[in-house]
């Protein structure tokens, strides 16, 4: 019975094969599939874990860069020349656009029933419209950007100014779009003085990195260190609430500021007069002017004309050039614009070389004196030309100078004299001083792009082998140097023989104004003795005060210097291109500042350095020396013509008034028959040349008006007689003595045809037309 019940049971029970196969299946699932998964997870979590963690963390942490404020560039009186102001950057997170509610858009009909997609479409349209309207951006492109749902960082607009930022924020608020946008603080570079010192300052690119000039040279100092805000973010960019340990803030370190040696006033005058000269002479290849402190090498001004506006550096500043470029065919245009831009950015004072010409005779003189090969009395004969190594070297005058001593030779800039002096000095000594004055090395000025003149001058061997090379090099031709090398060497002449390293940055300040580092003036070496220095200063002072460089004369300041007009032997197209230059310093007896003026390829009729460059230096000296606090000291002759200040005599009796005017060194002329002075012309406190006339009105009569005549292109006596015939006072400038016959007036302070009261002072400037130089 038991068997009977058991039999069917046994037939129903699972078979052996079933058990076996079930075992196989289970083993396959657990033993193979599960094991494979465990191995796979192990691979991800143990072997590759670090890589995956890194990737995960990079998306979980939002690393926001906090822009550092770029340092300011100041002039020597802490006037900002380049500064950064806060602007804003607008970022869109397309990923979050879908999170904006279309019902919050301004002016939509919220009663409408829209699907999610339709609502999103509305939001995207609104964003594209609003942004394109506000910032003038392409609507289609913006619309596409709103659809980049994988992105959380789309820069919509950089450098947004305060007003635009406020308008944007209001728009975002009104349309309920704050979820999709954020605003980052950024900085924009401004150059408050416009183009002033642009070639020194340089400019910055779109991401505030310095591209030229000091901005580029001191990039790492100015830029500062950007800060970071690292915080944990969830998948839609919001703060992750749980993992606070990740939030980390690294403050931005603002950039250091530069205090330069540039004096804005000096720079302004320098640029003004240089620009006038460049324009007046039609100088083709730009002009350079440098003002340098002779003892320290501090650059007070460094100008190149034409330059550009660093606020808008990519625009070609020269309007005629810009027009020319605009007319070019497209294929040539891009390259031409690139070249033109690079040219206007280049700081010609350090990036281009030229043949110094006669200015170099100063250094040849120094060689001769320092080596005791000559003295002031040493004479050489000028026969109009001198034959060296088969070449005839002409003097710049058509005749001959005859027998000249050293001061005469410098004053007349006599080439044969200096050829003979050069040959006497000899190649070895010449090269020693050439090297010593720094003409074989970069000046080491702390600016970007100083050009090396390596290979542009004669080696010691060439000088020794080729006599003609030495002969021409003695008067500054057949080799090239940079303007900054020349003025640095001239400073050595002026400062007692010390070659200094020129510099522009005086000190570096941190954002609190603490001095981080200060530049110590650096003397490279002593080249000539104090005595030689003083002797050359005297010679150079004399030639400005009556000799060949007299167009640089400034009353009260003994300017010293040498002019030069050098042939540009390397310009093939036009064989007689020249560089007209002047390099000098003042005062000659106690040199303070040196000035170099250089006009590259002037197109004016007269192109001598003495005629077109020295007057620029003159005006610069005249304007900056009082500003720099250099006390004038007048000679007897100068004192006699020095202007007087008119006393206040209004309300005085005629007798007292006459007495006062006479005491001031002026003449009184009474108009009317009253007892007391009612009015005076010129008014009190005006400067009038000694011996000038003050009109004292004792009756209420109309001022006697006169028409200002043309006073230009006239000699001193012509100007004087014309002015006195009309009852005008003239203040003469640029004259070494009032009896100079070769002087011709070239500027008058009140233009021809203006009506002025009698007695008005008109300033008239003169230049010497009888200057010429090799």
């Amino acid at each position: 019975m038991k068997k009977e019940t058991k039999t069917p049971t046994t037939t129903r029970t699972p078979t052996k094969q079933m058990r076996f196969r079930a075992r196989i299946a289970v083993l396959l699932v657990v033993g193979v599939f599960f094991l494979a998964n465990i191995v796979r997870l192990g691979w991800l979590q143990l072997v590759e874990a670090e890589d995956w963690q890194k990737r995960a963390v990079s998306q979980q942490l939002s690393d926001t860069v906090v822009t550092a404020k770029r340092g300011t560039i100041y002039d020597t009186d802490m006037l900002p020349l380049a500064e950064s102001a806060e602007v804003w950057k607008i970022i869109m997170s397309p990923k979050n656009v879908a999170g904006c509610n279309w019902k919050r858009l301004e002016g939509v009909d919220t009663t409408k029933e829209l699907t999610k997609e339709q609502g999103l479409e509305l939001v995207r349209q609104r964003i594209a419209e609003g942004l394109s309207e506000m910032f003038g951006l392409d609507k289609e492109k913006l619309y596409e950007q709103t659809g980049k749902t994988y992105s959380q960082y789309e820069v919509i607009k950089s450098k947004v100014e305060y007003n635009d930022k406020t308008a944007f924020s209001e728009w975002v608020e009104k349309n309920g779009l704050s979820y999709a946008f954020y605003i980052i603080t950024d900085y924009k570079r401004y150059y408050p003085q416009g183009s002033l010192a642009s070639n020194v300052l340089g400019f910055t690119g779109s991401d505030n990195n310095g591209l030229e000039g000091l901005e580029a040279k001191y990039e790492s100092v100015l830029s500062g260190v950007p800060g970071r805000i690292v915080s944990a973010r969830n998948g839609i960019g919001d703060e992750m609430p749980t993992t606070m340990e990740y939030t980390k803030v690294v403050d931005a370190v603002d950039g250091y500021s530069l205090v330069t040696t540039i004096d804005s006033t000096v720079q302004m005058y320098t640029e003004k007069y240089l620009a006038e000269a460049v324009a007046a002479t039609g100088t083709l290849n730009r002009g350079v002017a440098i003002v340098m402190e002779v003892d320290t090498g501090a650059i007070l001004a460094m100008a190149t004309k034409g330059d550009y506006d660093p606020n808008d550096p990519f625009t070609i500043a020269d309007p005629t050039l810009e027009t020319t470029l605009a007319e070019l065919a497209d294929d040539e245009k891009a390259e031409a614009i690139r070249v033109a831009r690079q040219k206007q950015w280049n700081n010609k004072a350090i990036t281009e070389t030229y043949e110094p010409g006669s200015v170099f005779k100063v250094f040849t003189t120094a060689m001769g004196l320092e080596e005791n090969l000559i003295n002031e009395g040493t004479t050489f004969n000028c026969a109009g030309s001198y034959r060296v190594g088969g070449w005839n070297i002409d003097c710049h005058i058509s005749g001959a100078h005859g027998l000249l001593n050293l001061p005469q030779a410098v004053s007349n800039s006599c080439n044969p004299y200096f050829v003979q002096l050069g040959l006497k000095v000899g190649a070895g000594t010449y090269y020693k001083y050439f090297n010593g004055f720094g003409f074989t090395e970069k000046s080491g000025i702390d600016m970007n792009g100083e050009m090396s003149n390596a290979g542009l001058y004669h080696s010691a061997a060439t000088l020794a082998e080729t006599e003609s090379s030495l002969a021409t090099a003695a008067f500054g031709q057949t080799f090239k140097v940079t303007p900054v090398q020349v003025i640095t060497a001239m400073c050595a002449i002026a400062n007692g023989g010390k070659l200094v390293t020129p510099y522009v940055v005086d000190r570096v300040l941190d954002s609190d104004g603490n001095v981080v580092s200060a530049t110590q003036p650096k003397v490279k070496r002593q080249i000539i003795s104090q005595d030689t220095s003083e002797r050359i200063c005297k010679i150079l002072g004399d030639i400005v005060n009556g000799g060949g460089s007299k167009n640089a004369y400034v009353a009260g300041y003994r300017v010293a210097g040498k002019t030069g007009t050098s042939e540009k032997r390397d310009t093939v197209e036009n064989g007689d291109d020249v560089v007209a230059s002047f390099c000098g310093f003042a005062p000659a007896d106690d040199p303070q500042v040196a000035v170099l003026v250089l006009l590259d390829d002037p197109q004016s009729e007269v192109r001598y350095g003495g005629t077109i460059s020295a007057p620029v230096a003159q005006k610069i000296f005249e304007s900056i020396l009082p500003h720099l606090g250099v006390e004038p000291s007048y000679t007897e002759a100068e004192l006699s013509t020095l202007s007087r200040i008119t006393p206040n005599v209004v309300g005085q009796t005629v007798a007292v008034a006459q007495n006062k005017v006479a005491n001031a060194g002026l003449k009184a002329s009474i108009v009317g028959s009253g007892d007391t002075v009612l009015r005076q012309v010129p008014e009190a406190g005006q400067s009038v040349p000694a011996g000038g006339t003050v009109l004292l009105y004792t009756e209420e009569v109309e001022s006697n008006m006169v028409t200002v005549p043309n006073l230009l292109g006239k000699s001193v006596s012509e100007v004087n007689s014309l002015a006195s015939s009309l009852g005008l006072n003239v203040q003469l400038s640029g004259l070494i003595s009032s009896s100079s016959t070769a002087a011709i007036s070239n500027r008058q302070s009140i233009a021809e045809g203006q009506k002025v009261p009698r007695g008005t002072v008109i300033e008239v400037n003169f230049y010497y037309s009888d200057t010429a130089d090799g």
Binding site: M18, R21, A22, V29, N37, Q45, Q53, Y150
Partner: protein
């Protein structure tokens, strides 16, 4: 003889009582199941609360509340099912299968969710996946047929053919939803049961061979599922948009889920970020409460945690296997092994997908992934296994 027959009938009747509580069920299986369920529920809460807070009206408990409710109902269903003599299911085998097919057809004709007809919405309760039912229906029907028709299993016409037809019809209806992973799961499960049930191995191998060639042909020659394959083979390149996808959707979007899952798993390392400390659940990994929940678990509990869970599942499968082996009859054996393997295969495929060992197909992790009807049915099915265990010849705790 009559006595014997009467005794036999009595014995039969005793066994065929609807509720059989004469012996206890297998405590090992039950306890393992409870441990897995608790871990699963805890993981669901951890994985879902951020997502729920952000996308379900600020209600952090949105998913766990529902899941707890259905797990509770499921527990009751399990206990009830464990008390019912499983033999009663013979009667349901065919109707349930036909019903599941009908529901699959209904789902297919219901409005789709972005082209997928996988769910039937029941207002107030939630959504129901007919393929979940189809899975169970297939196991039940196969167990039914194999146990009744066991002797003819070796034959082609009476053994192989009916089963493969049933499997084929089910798979076709599931694949048109389309539900690739569901099809894969049902297919593997069906093949495994056919194999265990005694179908000639040659035909099965042939079938697998044809299937493999078919898949290779479809992918390599016809170019099916190229996007999925590209993401599978080159997840990071797709994510970085280095691969262009034909459908115009960015590679980043295509690979997003897979890559975020890998980020999560990799971030876990050996020990994990700690319970609740997942960062990927902060809206990086999409729907972390669903198919990819195990990635969050791996991130929080590390490799050791993952191995522990897989070990628990392995033990559960092993215990289910034991129950099947000791089952009093072929029906119980096939039913228990089918239901157990269903769990095992689904876990294996899910983890393989989450770790990108297999392409992303959309398969949930039993007892972990969110899904009310799903967990209810799973628990009820485990109740059936427990019911079988009551009659199994094994020591009871």
């Amino acid at each position: 003889m009559a006595r014997a027959a009467a005794a036999q009938k009595t014995a039969k009747q005793a066994k065929r009582r609807l509720f059989n509580l004469s012996t206890g069920f297998d405590m090992y299986f039950f306890v393992l199941l409870m441990i897995i369920l608790v871990i699963g529920l805890a993981t669901l809460y951890s994985a879902s609360h951020v997502y729920a807070f952000n996308y379900d009206g600020g209600d952090s408990y949105f998913y766990i509340r529902k899941q707890l409710l259905f797990a509770g109902l499921g527990l009751i269903a399990m206990l009830v099912a464990s008390m019912v003599d499983y033999h009663v299911l013979h009667k349901f085998a065919v109707p349930v299968w036909l019903g599941s097919l009908a529901l699959l057809v209904v789902a297919y004709f219901l409005p789709s969710e972005s082209g997928i007809h996988r769910w039937i919405r029941i207002p107030g309760i939630g959504q129901f996946q007919p393929s979940e039912l189809a899975k169970f229906a297939l196991v039940l029907l196969f167990a039914h047929i194999i146990s009744l028709n066991h002797k003819k299993m070796k034959t082609f016409t009476k053994g192989f053919l009916p089963l493969i037809c049933i499997l084929g019809i089910t798979c076709v209806l599931v694949i048109i939803e389309p539900h690739l992973s569901g099809t894969m799961l049902i297919g593997f499960l069906g093949l495994a049961m056919m194999y265990i049930g005694g179908v000639n191995g040659i035909w099965l191998l042939l079938l697998i061979g044809i299937g493999a060639v078919g898949v290779v042909f479809m992918v390599m020659v016809l170019g099916y599922e190229q996007d999925r394959i590209a993401v599978w083979l080159h997840p990071l390149e797709s994510f970085a948009n280095e691969i262009v996808f034909a459908d115009g959707i960015s590679g980043r979007d295509h690979a997003w889920q897979t890559v975020q899952s890998l980020y999560a798993i990799g971030s876990g390392g050996l020990m994990g970020q700690g319970p609740g400390a997942s960062r990927q659940k902060h809206l990086f990994l999409p729907e972390p409460q669903n198919d990819f929940i195990f990635a969050i678990f791996c991130e929080e509990m590390g490799w050791l945690g993952a191995v522990l869970v897989l070990l628990l599942f392995a033990l559960l499968v092993w215990r289910g296997f034991k129950i099947a082996m000791r089952a009093p009859d072929k029906f119980g054996c096939m039913l228990a092994i089918g239901l157990t393997l269903q769990i095992g295969i689904q876990v294996a495929i899910n983890v393989a997908v989450v770790s990108n060992l297999l392409p992303n197909t959309g398969i949930s992790l039993p007892f972990f992934s969110y899904g009310g009807t799903s967990i209810l049915m799973l628990m009820a099915q485990m109740g059936v296994v427990l019911s079988i265990s009551r009659q199994s010849h094994m020591e009871k705790l």
